[in-house]
């Protein structure tokens, strides 16, 4: 399982970076989104997958999965939500002011 997830992380990063390297603001945004997912899966995979019960003591299990990466990911999800929202509005606002969603500027600016 870990091997498959590791490959999936690789693909998420590849596509994410590919999108980030494009000119359209929307693509860049979606790219960061995919990379975020990749990072979350990476954090989770690092501690090993399905090594025990969910990290709830009520389960009264022998072993639990590692709670620490989960706490980190939870923080990360919420922060990246804030960042994504900020980026979305930045893109939206840029487009409304400049009339383009090209990060390299409008055609006139480039010349």
């Amino acid at each position: 399982m870990e091997l498959i997830v590791a490959l999936a992380i690789g693909v998420l990063f590849s596509v994410g970076v590919y999108l980030i390297l494009s000119k359209s603001l929307l693509r860049i945004l979606l790219g960061t989104n995919l990379i975020t997912h990749g990072v979350h899966l990476l954090l989770l995979t690092m501690s090993g997958l399905k090594t025990g019960a969910p990290p709830l003591l009520g389960e009264k299990a022998e072993a639990y999965v590692d709670p620490l990466p989960q706490a980190l990911i939870l923080t990360s999800i919420v922060i990246s939500f804030g960042v994504t929202a900020f980026f979305i509005v930045l893109a939206y606002r840029t487009y409304r002011s400049t009339g383009t969603d090209d990060v390299e500027g409008t055609k006139e600016e480039r010349q």
Binding site: A8, I9, S14, I79, V89
Partner: protein
């Protein structure tokens, strides 16, 4: 005590900086003068202590692991310089008080820089630790830079400041490298410890390179040929600065360094030849150049270069003593005695001359020799000062300069007796060069006085009507002139107090021989020195006469600027080169920069994985997988891979959402219920946001890229993917240390009182993280609010938003679907209750503040979609921005509350209580904290959604 002493000037700088405008009725100089004078007096009281041979080290630990400590030490040499620095400093401050107008000049920075310099210079001469010395050394360069550029609106000032900075810092860096080499050889940064190891290291391969590098530092600082070119340009500084830094103190730091390192390097042939050779060349070169100047300050600058060369040469000749022992050694130390004596004399007469030139400049408005003349009747006192200073410089009796000039001649004549080199004829060059330079020195000293104060008075060429300077301006130069005469008559007052202790520091050998005495006399009988002086006077007058007859003064001199051209050329070349290098990769394209970052990441991470021992990729035991899980991953990958190809914005956004939901599913499968809940709701909210904002954006165009650029993009993307896969596998395969997670598993119930470990981690163990996190979220949402609502005009004022793209009024501000409206109300209530359940259950079961808040927000979004935002705001008139503030405040106050119980910030506690209706209930302070999180997150989410939504 020495630490305090060095701190005093810096403290005075601070005082000046803190003075209010109201204090400006008093000249800023008066605030620093008492401190400076007190330092001078302190060092005077040290004279008997040092004479008694008492030497102390004062250490304050700084970076002991690197052998760098603030070790200060006062010996004869340091004391001599400290007296120069504080004494000249005090006089220059008095002078500057009358020279710089408090109403016209920026005095606060001036005195701050001046005090910085004084402190740094004291640090240089008192440090025993080479690294500390180096730090202070560069600080003198920096303060000199600031002072030269004091009138920074003038292009020439900036040019001169930069030039002096580049050259002296270049030398400083060379010196730094030399210091490091000494450290490599000896293992210590302490000068005294290096002295004691000279015998062991003199054969080391780095010994001569270290010596050359340190000399480079000394020569650049002391303006020795060919590095002297910065000093004439430094004359753009206000005259008090020139008098202080560029003649009396800073330029002598190089001499100090050479003297300080004499015990280490003296005895090396290279040292003798380079120091004395460079010194003599600078002496003769400077004196000839001084003849050609028409600007009084430029004349003094070249004269300073020449005199510094003289002292440098004497130090070099003095090092010959190290070739001998006993009587013969003492014989050659006469040169060093002359060097120290002349160093004092030079500071005195050159200081007075600079101040005199400053007065002439101040009163007539010019320093040009071609415009000046006949001032003797107008400025008699200034003339007297000029005459005493110049005659002392020329080496005429009864002024102190005469005595040191005689000693200089003795030293160069002594050198002829050196029998250790195979080419004795070379040594005849020493007296010849010295004598010629003295002739020129005599001549330019005469030019200085007679062209300024005699000859024709040309009032029509002057900008101002000249008159005698005020008393305050004359005070300092007059004191120096008196001192010059006084030392001329009673030179031996210096010999026991200052010269011998300094000599002991430079020539440790003198401490071992019988009591060393210095006796300076006017008259030794008809010795060769007397005839040489006589020759200088006669020939000097002749040169001056010829010079006057040719009226060379009126000619512009084109030569002598070749070194400057080299400097300018190098600067231009470096500028061009750096512009080219920077321009080649700083393209202004964000994507290029990202490519650099990604490439760097790929190379470093892969390099580490490849080269590090103990990193294994993957484990031997993988968790088994089911078909279901594989399908979830496959769907995720398909969704992700499809995104770059689609043209429709909506499809792209939905595909990303699909990836998000698959990740949620994986969270469920991987036993992370909290994550799954959070991710799911975040996906809902962010897809809503995406759709709200991107309705109006243009279609996604296919990128037009060159095939090579496209290929590069692909390579970097795939490289990043491979790298991250490697990271994941490497993390699985190798764990160099034990995880800290066990602690949380074991203690979350006993210490945090919760059964949901993730929640306990968030609100208790790592509560600080969470508090900052909601703060960041709050900031982001406020930034979004201001980005939408405000726009700054060119002049920085808020203005109405300009819209380039005309905005269509959205057609569907609310849904007309009756069914949806009916369901939504019920759904909202259910969602809200569920949200509260998640919040309260969170400590023991999946849920918590974050998830609950996001759930509630999702409910509100549903209402807004169904009934329109106006309606929602009417029903629930909440200011979400205030809600953010309240939430963060509650979380923060919960943390602060810990202080009442005398426990660290954000300590949580819990207990069990019997409550009506609910039975035995656990109550924790973490609940308050989570409430803060809950409110803040609702505020953030709704603020964002409503801000954007209502912008329509």
């Amino acid at each position: 005590m020495l630490h305090v002493i060095i701190l005093v000037p810096f403290l005075m700088a601070l005082v000046i900086a803190l003075l209010t405008k109201r204090a400006s009725n008093l000249h800023r100089g008066w605030f620093v003068f008492p401190g400076s004078l007190a330092l001078f007096v302190y060092f005077l009281t040290r004279i008997p202590v040092i004479k008694g041979g008492e030497l102390g080290y004062e250490t304050v630990s700084w970076i002991p692991s690197l052998g760098i400590d603030l070790v200060f030490h006062l010996d004869g040499l340091s004391l001599l310089f400290a007296l120069l620095i504080t004494g000249m400093g005090s006089l220059v401050i008095i002078y500057s008080i009358f020279y710089l107008d408090r109403r016209k000049e920026a005095l606060t920075p001036f005195y701050i820089y001046l005090m910085l310099f004084m402190g740094a210079m004291l640090g240089v001469v008192l440090s025993d630790n080479l690294m500390v010395l180096y730090g202070f050394w560069e600080l003198t360069s920096v303060s000199s830079f600031l002072l030269i550029a004091f009138w920074h609106r003038r292009q020439k000032s900036r040019y001169g400041a930069l030039k002096s900075m580049l050259i002296t810092v270049f030398g400083g860096l060379a010196m730094f490298a030399g210091f490091l080499m000494l450290y490599v050889m000896t293992g210590t940064f302490s000068i005294r410890e290096i002295w004691s190891e000279v015998g062991d290291i003199s054969g080391h391969a780095l010994f001569i390179p270290a010596m050359l590098l340190i000399l480079l530092g000394a020569f650049t600082k002391s303006a020795q040929f060919p590095f002297h070119i910065w000093l004439p340009d430094a004359m753009e500084a206000p005259t008090p600065v020139s008098a202080y830094l560029h003649s009396a103190t800073m330029v002598k730091a190089g001499l100090y360094l050479v003297a300080r390192f004499s015990p280490v390097f003296a005895g090396q042939y290279e040292w003798f030849w380079i120091v004395s050779g460079v010194g003599l060349i600078t002496l003769i070169y400077g004196s000839i150049q001084a003849m050609k100047q028409t600007d009084l300050k430029a004349l003094l600058a070249y004269s300073t270069i020449s005199q510094l060369g003289l002292i440098m040469g004497l130090l070099g000749m003095g090092s010959a003593a190290a070739f001998y022992i006993g009587e013969e050694a003492v014989f050659y130390t006469a040169a060093t005695t002359a060097a120290i004596f002349h160093l004092i004399n030079h500071a005195i007469f050159k200081g007075s001359l600079f101040m005199m030139v400053g007065i002439v400049d101040h009163e007539t408005g010019t320093r040009d020799l071609r415009k000046l003349g006949g001032l003797i009747s107008i400025m008699p006192v200034t003339f007297t000062v000029a005459m005493i200073g110049s005659f002392s410089m020329a080496g005429l009796p009864p002024f102190s300069g005469f005595l040191s000039k005689e000693m200089f001649f003795t030293a160069v004549l002594n050198i002829r007796n050196l029998d250790i080199f195979s080419i004795p004829s070379l040594f005849t060059l020493f007296p010849v060069l010295a004598w010629m330079a003295s002739v020129f020195t005599f001549a330019y000293s005469m030019i200085l006085v007679f062209h300024t104060f005699f000859g024709k008075y040309q009032p029509e060429k002057l900008d101002k009507k000249p008159h005698e300077a005020p008393f305050g301006l004359l005070l300092a130069p007059c004191l120096l002139a008196v001192l010059s005469i006084f030392i001329g008559f009673f030179p031996n007052i210096l010999s026991n107090t200052l010269i011998i202790p300094a000599m002991n520091a430079i020539h440790p050998i003198l401490q071992t021989t019988e009591p060393f005495v210095v006796n300076i006399h006017f008259w030794h009988g008809f010795t060769p020195e007397v005839w040489m002086t006589l020759g200088v006077v006669i020939l000097g007058i002749t040169v001056y006469r010829i010079y006057g007859r040719l009226s060379l003064v009126d000619k512009e001199w084109g030569s002598g600027y070749t070194l400057n051209q080299v400097y300018d050329g190098v600067i231009r070349l470096v500028e061009k080169l750096s512009r080219w290098v920077t321009g080649s990769y700083m393209t202004g394209s964000m994507r290029h920069y990202l490519m650099y970052i990604f490439s760097f990441l790929i190379v470093t991470i892969c390099g580490v994985v490849w080269y590090s021992d103990g990193i294994t990729l993957g484990t031997t035991e993988y968790t088994p997988f089911s078909l279901f899980e594989v399908i979830a991953v496959m769907v995720l990958l398909l969704g992700a891979l499809a995104i770059p190809f689609v043209r429709s914005r909506i499809t792209a956004i939905l595909l990303t959402g699909m990836v998000g939901y698959m990740v949620t599913l994986l969270f469920v499968l991987f036993r992370a219920p909290d994550l799954a809940l959070t991710q799911m709701i975040v996906e809902v909210v962010s897809v809503t946001l995406f759709l709200l904002c991107f309705r109006h954006l243009p279609r996604l165009e296919k990128e037009k890229l060159k095939p090579s650029a496209h290929f590069l993009k692909l390579i970097i993307s795939i490289g990043m993917g491979v790298t991250m896969t490697l990271v994941a596998l490497a993390a699985l395969g190798s764990s160099p240390f034990e995880s800290i997670s066990k602690y949380y598993v074991e203690n979350s119930y006993t210490l945090g009182g919760g059964k949901n470990m993730v929640n306990v981690l968030l609100v208790d163990f790592r509560g600080f993280d969470t508090m900052f996190e909601i703060t960041v979220l709050g900031l982001a949402s406020l930034a979004i609010y201001s980005m939408i609502k405000l726009q700054l005009d060119g002049d920085g004022t808020a203005a109405q938003l300009k819209r380039v793209v005309p905005y269509n009024k959205p057609r569907y501000s609310r849904s007309d679907d009756v069914l949806l409206q009916a369901v939504a109300k019920v759904a909202f209530v259910i969602i809200l209750i569920f949200s509260l359940f998640l919040f309260f259950a969170g400590h023991n079961n999946p849920g918590g503040g974050f998830i609950g808040a996001l759930m509630a927000s999702a409910g509100l979004v549903l209402l807004a979609i169904t009934f329109g935002m106006d309606m929602v705001e009417k029903v629930l008139p909440i200011n979400y921005r205030k809600l953010i503030a309240i939430g963060i405040s509650i979380a923060f106050l919960t943390g602060v509350g810990s202080f009442i119980f005398d426990v660290p910030f954000l300590s949580q506690t819990f207990g069990y209580f019997q409550l009506p209706l609910m039975g035995k209930t656990e109550l924790t302070t973490a609940m308050f904290f989570d409430l803060g999180v809950y409110l803040a997150v609702i505020g953030v989410t709704m603020n964002i959604i409503f801000t954007i939504g209502r912008d329509n």
